[in-house]
Symmetry: D3
Subunit: 137 residues, 6 copies
């Protein structure tokens, strides 16, 4: 057994979105996405849990300073997504349907680019208390 | 001491909204409501707790059948607000700023009209886990 | 304003029950109580919150030692109700339908008899996270 | 790294049960299962979290429509277990002790038969907030 | 019925403390406060819920801007108590035993001095998930 | 697929601690650990989730009796850490900085020595609701 530890930091943001595939008809969008397709949007309190895996530094006892991880999440995710309309305000979702799956993959990519490759990364995103996703597996 | 009991039912809905006062300038709206004023909306998972006070029926042991209360909340609140844009889709907020305070008062009025006057009513509305309101006091 | 403080202690118990009025027909019981009338019982993790109001003792800074309150709840409620069938194992519900309302009133009476009359008492009982009751009002 | 995402759906049901091994004496059942062996049953609010792993569909952005997953859980699990006595009302537990471990394995098997083999499946079952199980590992 | 609404803001702080009455012997302190009397301190994640009651402003729809309330709680409570030893670092508890009751009264007094007298104020303080207090009643 | 099941037990303890590296200057400790370095300590309600993996016993349907697991956690962890100052009262942290990572590894080692090697073990430790760690990975 190695000495790796997983550390987790939970953050949240509030955003509006709608699910929509522009190459489909209105009828098909409505059939597939139901009330999530509402043209005027709806919204969620998203809860984000970021998991980082690595060996604790022997001098600090930290895998990473969670304050630093929180600052990176703030800059890369919260500043971009919080109190925003994901479809209209966030460039990443101009062409990409903002399902929980796609939001989680997008957040992973934003954070992965800022974190030391020595650390494994996983994100869990709660759209509601009862619907949530995790990436990568 | 009387024999009244309070019964509570928790429901939820997901909606988009923005805070905005149409008689103010854009600058003043931005100054007062900050990121909640985003013109493209943001959203929340609203948690609603409905409190009803009355004497338990001696035959059933119920103040009210909570299934019935849940059905009334479904018809009056969830069907109107869930997966909607409060500002654009809900007539009650055409002229009324959808702050948590105003949403709670609106929900109270919708439910009050459907419930037996013998029962006292109070609503608590969570906009986030950390911001919530209660009406009446 | 007086100097009274409310103190709360949360406890839990797991029990089986069914809702049933013996003077009604099987049909009427089924119509009124639905699946809660299942003759073989169902069950819940009940969460109990006990509220006591009084002035803090100047020497201890306590309204009551919550360890002592917890011990009284253990003796009067948990030892009687936990891992029991409320209808069959608990004398109080031989003739009384174990709705959340009636369970809360019963718990109140059991605790009231053990606590100093100088302290006001209220109990809140969660049958599920979404259905709960409070007594007295 | 592949592009698989895990999606989760949380549901709940309320049921009565008792732990009991019919080939043991009453004394041994009591010694091993303690108050969980109460012949008149006790009960729980079971929380069930279903995890499905797969690649998001490029057209919908969904691994699976969680509404569809919820409907399958409703048919296979909730309709069978909710407001039931697991020992008496559910055929799967006529011969099988309804521990959390065995309930989770049973739920897994019921759901596995209904879901596309392309998706990995795991279930987590909370018997209480403090005792829970997961299958498979 | 008036048009008053209660608004709530939840904050938290982490602190060390011990319960101790300096005019008592070590034995009596130990007898009364048990393990909470540990001379080297123990600690808690305190959750604080601040309740403010008033009429919503017709122009904003707010009883108070919760961001402003949060800032006041930050200055008066969090900056003083968070990551502190209540007994050693906080002047208010030099002579006052930091029970949950006394911490809540102290927080009330700090906030009351900063808030408009037109608003009623109440604080709820969770020492643990199972032990909490409220002031005033 | 094997027939292994993971079982989880959640416990908690309240403790004081400070983060500090004795070979560093006061300035460096302050720079790295910030307010967590407060010389008078601060504290937390730690939530501990212990995960054990194994095959259910065919006679009991248990991987392990969770009451037994709870008793072991009580003896090895709660009795040592609850209402203690981790730095001053717990020998394991005389030389080891009590970060969440190091506390989790320490708890793992204490429990591993008491449990049957046939069972895999993992611990998750919540320092706050938003900061938590897991070991091993």
């Amino acid at each position: 057994m190695n000495s790796k530890v997983a550390v987790y930091r939970k953050e949240h943001f509030n955003a509006a979105h709608r699910l929509h595939n522009p190459i489909w008809s209105e009828e098909k969008n409505n059939e597939i996405f139901g009330k999530c397709n509402n043209r005027n949007f709806h919204g969620h309190n998203y809860e984000l849990v970021v998991k980082l895996v690595g060996e604790p530094d022997p001098e600090t006892g930290y895998v990473i300073d969670l304050k630093l991880l929180s600052d990176i999440v703030q800059e890369e995710v919260i500043d971009r997504f919080d109190h925003k309309n994901l479809n209209l305000d966030v460039p990443q979702f101009r062409q990409l349907n903002p399902t929980a799956e796609n939001i989680a993959i997008t957040i992973y990519n934003l954070l992965r680019a800022r974190l030391d490759p020595i650390h494994d990364l996983q994100v869990r995103l709660y759209e509601t208390e009862r619907n949530f996703v995790e990436y990568p597996v």
